[in-house]
């Protein structure tokens, strides 16, 4: 140990200029990796948060009616098309059992029912097309956090009251305390008291979403006691896909995970991750090659010293360890500096990239685990990069070095 550390340190100190240059190189490389990771993680987390702030992770719906083929075809013949049929207004009748079944799943954090359907909001002769969404507010709030979206009024859904989007409120000139008429597609209508105005984050949602008590929606939409969907929030949102399958199997309902309903977003995030991973791999490769080339040069420069050490009885393995250690030190020390620099750059980014109101575009995610993983990978890369030079140093013929 002592020999390896001492000799590695002295060699690095002797080649001061090279040592400083390669440490700077590793630092910059690691900083780029940390910076990109922090930015991409922050950005993606933010996009997912925003997208899912108004969505359930999983939505259970009644089974779709499908046309089954009645003809069985002889081998080799292909049916040209199976028409999809128009879906009836379809509801979940005995939802209490399904809801209870879903809630017992350990991966499920919360579940709520929803009775939704199309309708119109009327006020002073103006008629706007809306989505009527009947919910048990207490349950629904566990799925979709509305507290931060509240613009005016209070989060309350007593019988006969509604919470509406901010765009709809603007278009109809409504504020909490006002009344409006809601008409379902069936023609049933009723008058409601506005208790809250909400900004759902997307204009289209704020224009169309109307939250009302479950019972009110059921009678307006003519669903009797039925609901149209069960909303599920999972503990691990990236598991939603697999949990959806489980929930579907348990309930006999169709299950859509957020990944399925947001395929474009998921694809975009995936390709962003892929390209940032690509950058990280190439930066790591460049860093490793830098370390390797510095060590190759060092082995050639220190040929004579290595020869003397070998002549004096230093085992080849100990010489190899000296150079592997140098690689590890370059990787580790560079990654510590690089982590600090990368985190600093990422924090600086949040100062520069601002919303119009002066808040950061999105929070940058810098976690201790990012530093630890980076340090481990950089150290391993350093050791791997040192492999060939270390081998070369260990195999050096002492006679060559001494004769010269």
């Amino acid at each position: 140990m002592a020999f390896i550390w001492t000799v590695a340190w002295r060699l690095m100190r002797e080649g001061r200029f090279q040592t400083v240059l390669i440490l700077a190189g590793v630092t910059i490389g690691v900083a780029v990796v940390v910076y990109i990771t922090a930015i991409v993680n922050g950005l993606q987390g933010n996009i997912i948060d925003k997208t899912l702030s108004t969505q359930a992770h999983i939505v259970l719906k009644p089974r779709e009616d499908v046309n089954r083929r009645l003809l069985s075809l002889p081998e080799g013949e292909v049916m040209s098309a199976v028409e999809t049929r128009t879906q009836r207004e379809n509801t979940i009748e005995n939802w209490a059992g399904s809801l209870a079944a879903v809630r017992t799943l350990p991966e499920v954090e919360a579940a709520a029912v929803m009775a939704s359907g199309p309708g119109f909001a009327l006020k002073g002769g103006v008629k706007k097309s809306v989505v009527l969404m009947g919910v048990e507010l207490e349950d629904y709030l566990k799925i979709v956090a509305l507290e931060s979206k509240l613009k005016a009024g209070r989060l309350r859904l007593d019988a006969g009251s509604v919470m509406i989007g901010s765009e709809l409120a603007r278009e109809l000139g409504l504020k909490p305390g006002d009344r409006l008429r809601l008409v379902a597609a069936t023609g049933t209508a009723d008058s409601f008291l506005v208790t809250a105005v909400l900004d759902f984050g997307l204009k289209d949602l704020s224009r169309r979403w109307v939250l009302l008590p479950l019972r009110g929606a059921q009678s307006l939409l003519g669903y009797r006691r039925d609901v149209s969907e069960i909303y599920i929030k999972t503990f691990d949102l990236f598991q939603a896909n697999t949990i959806a399958d489980v929930a579907s199997a348990r309930t006999g309902l169709d299950a859509d995970s957020w990944q399925e309903t947001n395929t474009q977003l998921v694809t975009a995030l995936r390709s962003q991750s892929a390209s940032s991973n690509m950058i990280k791999v190439f930066v790591t490769l460049a860093v490793a090659l830098g370390i390797a080339s510095v060590l190759v040069v060092s082995v050639v420069q220190k040929q004579r010293e290595i020869g003397i050490l070998r002549a004096m009885g230093t085992p080849a393995s100990r010489i190899r360890a000296v150079f592997l250690l140098q690689g590890a030190i370059y990787g580790l020390v560079g990654s510590l500096g690089g982590s600090a620099l990368g985190a600093l750059l990422a924090k600086g980014f949040t100062r520069l990239a601002l919303n119009s109101d002066g808040t950061p575009l999105f929070p940058v995610v810098v976690t201790p685990s990012l530093f630890i993983i980076t340090a481990v990978i950089a150290t391993l890369a350093g050791v791997l990069a040192a492999w060939a030079p270390a081998r070369r140093a260990a195999m050096l013929d002492p006679v060559e070095a001494i004769r010269g």
């Binding site: 140990m1 100190r13 002797e14 003397i308 050490l309 004096m312 009885g313 230093t314 085992p315 001494i402």
Partner: protein, 226 residues
């Protein structure tokens, strides 16, 4: 008297493959006895360094037998030869070859450091004692570049003694020094040989110095002259 080193019909060829095969040592038979102070002389290119490197287990003979302190040292792995080298042999080179990144004291300790992987207070005390013995106590913490040629060679001489070798091999150890400094270094080695009983074999071109040795071994064209 015990034999520290025995060579039996040692041959060494270079080349082969594309280059012509040239035999440099043509069957060397030699024994070095404990406590001997011998000079190896011969014209340039006669194979002295090659012979010394073979004795020092730095180079393998093409054929022949080699025993160090009674242990056979031919056909061993690199690790085994390294161990024998560290255990029994000390080296002094023509160009001093101190390690520039280490102080005089650290250079002296290096054979133990290299062999064991660490040094203790005892080793440090021994190194300091050795430096003191050659009058370099106050230069212990200087780096090699801060020392004169003669001082560097004295450090190199005591470094060879650090791991208590049975045999010290010196290839033209004074070849690079002026006459007076060379004579001083030579006298120092002679003194160590007399006081500690360490066996020395040194290559030299200086006939006067060679004459003062216990024994002269002459190598011409790869053959020992009796």
């Amino acid at each position: 008297m015990a034999e520290v080193l025995q060579l039996k019909d040692i041959r060494r060829s270079y080349g082969g493959g594309r280059a012509p095969l040239v035999e440099v040592l043509h069957g060397i038979n030699l024994a070095l006895v404990e406590g001997e102070f011998s000079a190896l002389t011969g014209p340039s290119g006669s194979g002295k360094s090659t012979l010394l490197n073979i004795m020092g287990l730095l180079e393998q003979p093409s054929s022949g037998e080699l025993l160090i302190a009674g242990e056979t040292a031919v056909g061993l792995s690199d690790a085994a030869r390294t161990r024998l080298r560290n255990l029994y042999l000390g080296f002094i080179f023509q160009f001093h070859h101190l390690l520039p990144a280490f102080s005089a004291l650290e250079n002296v300790m290096m054979p133990v450091f290299a062999g064991k992987g660490r040094v203790g207070p005892d080793d440090k005390a021994r190194a300091a004692m050795l430096l003191e013995r050659v009058g370099l106590a106050e230069h212990s913490y200087k780096m090699p570049v801060q020392l004169s040629g003669g001082q560097q060679q004295r450090v190199a001489i005591v470094r060879a003694l650090m791991a208590r070798p049975r045999l010290v091999l010196a290839d033209e150890p004074t070849g690079n020094l002026d006459t007076q400094t060379a004579a001083d270094a030579f006298a120092l080695m002679r003194e160590i040989n007399r006081e500690d009983g360490v066996t020395f074999l040194l290559v030299t071109h200086d006939a006067r110095l060679a004459d003062t040795c216990d024994r002269q071994i002459r190598l011409v064209d790869g053959i020992l002259l009796r």
